[in-house]
């Protein structure tokens, strides 16, 4: 489950026959007709451009902007929360405003920060689709969008977290957050022990994407 794809599951017997020289499967060229929804997307995009509501350049710019966002941005927010108690207070009150304050252009994102403590562990899902704080963290991992994760983590979160290598004792309460409507969620992982002397940027390097979804802890320093 923790892997985004299974091309490298070398513990499973498999053959490299028909694979590229690097051992990856060849992908089919897309020589098939457009689907209904692909046609619909093109038609709407062309209409919006013809009517002057948007332009090709603006669309490319928006795609570039989406591509430039990454979990590193969220990690900086977490590290600031670990080191600056007043920022932490503002983040817990309004995570969107606190992220903007750090200079992140998150657009209309409405964000809630949920914090892991010694008693509580938080994990985020969108059972209905794939809602994710993309405007701060970039694109979600593939597994986040798959039915297996979405349907199982609300029912058996402990079993799912165990598959990610995260075992939680029974006296820690798990809070699953289902992003069903307007808000998006970022988990503020617990600050690892032995990090007292670290700088904010060294701390940010310990914060993985998965720890901000809640399927991992923040990493410990080497």
């Amino acid at each position: 489950m923790p892997h985004d794809h299974h091309d490298h599951d070398h513990d499973v017997p498999h053959s490299h026959e028909g694979m590229s020289p690097s051992g990856h499967p060849y992908r089919q060229d897309q020589d098939t007709p457009l689907t209904y929804w692909q046609n619909m997307e093109i038609a709407i995009r062309e209409l919006l451009i013809e009517k002057g509501i948007t332009s090709e350049l603006e669309i490319m710019h928006t795609i570039d902007q989406m591509d430039s966002r990454s979990p590193a941005d969220g990690a900086k927010v977490v590290a600031r929360a670990w080191t600056d108690p007043e920022f932490h207070t503002r983040l817990m009150a309004d995570a969107s405003e606190a992220s903007r304050e750090m200079g992140f252009d998150i657009g209309a994102l409405k964000l809630i920060a949920v914090e892991n403590t010694k008693d509580v562990h938080n994990v985020v899902v969108c059972t209905l689709c794939s809602c994710y704080p993309r405007n701060l963290l970039g694109f979600p991992p593939d597994w986040y969008k798959q039915r297996a994760y979405r349907s199982r983590v609300v029912k058996t979160p402990r079993a799912v977290l165990l598959e990610f290598g995260l075992e939680l004792p029974d006296d820690i309460t798990i809070r699953v957050h289902d992003s069903t409507a307007d808000m998006r969620y970022i988990v503020i992982p617990a600050r690892p022990e032995g990090t007292e002397g670290l700088s904010e940027s060294d701390l940010a390097a310990l914060v993985s994407r998965d720890s901000m979804i809640g399927v991992a802890r923040a990493m410990s320093p080497e």
Binding site: K155, S179, D182
Partner: protein, 89 residues
Amino acid sequence: MAEKVRVSTMMPPGHVRTPAYLRGKTGEIERTLGPFSNPEQLAYGLEAEKLPVHRVRFTMAEVWGAEAENPADTIDAEIYAHWLKPAET
């Protein structure tokens, strides 16, 4: 004392943001957000009513009964106000 609410069991068609697995379940309001436009109207380009959205906290015991992995663990979900009624105690 947090307000106890029960999610409606209605099953309307359309762009509904209330997960089926929470319908009929009782939880406590964790916080209230919004008002936000009702997605059931907004998704179809209709004039959308502005509604409060409640973050409701359900226990695993309430949602999954005896199958719950750990009854005290919780699920929080955002539910539009028109889906919620005060729960009878």
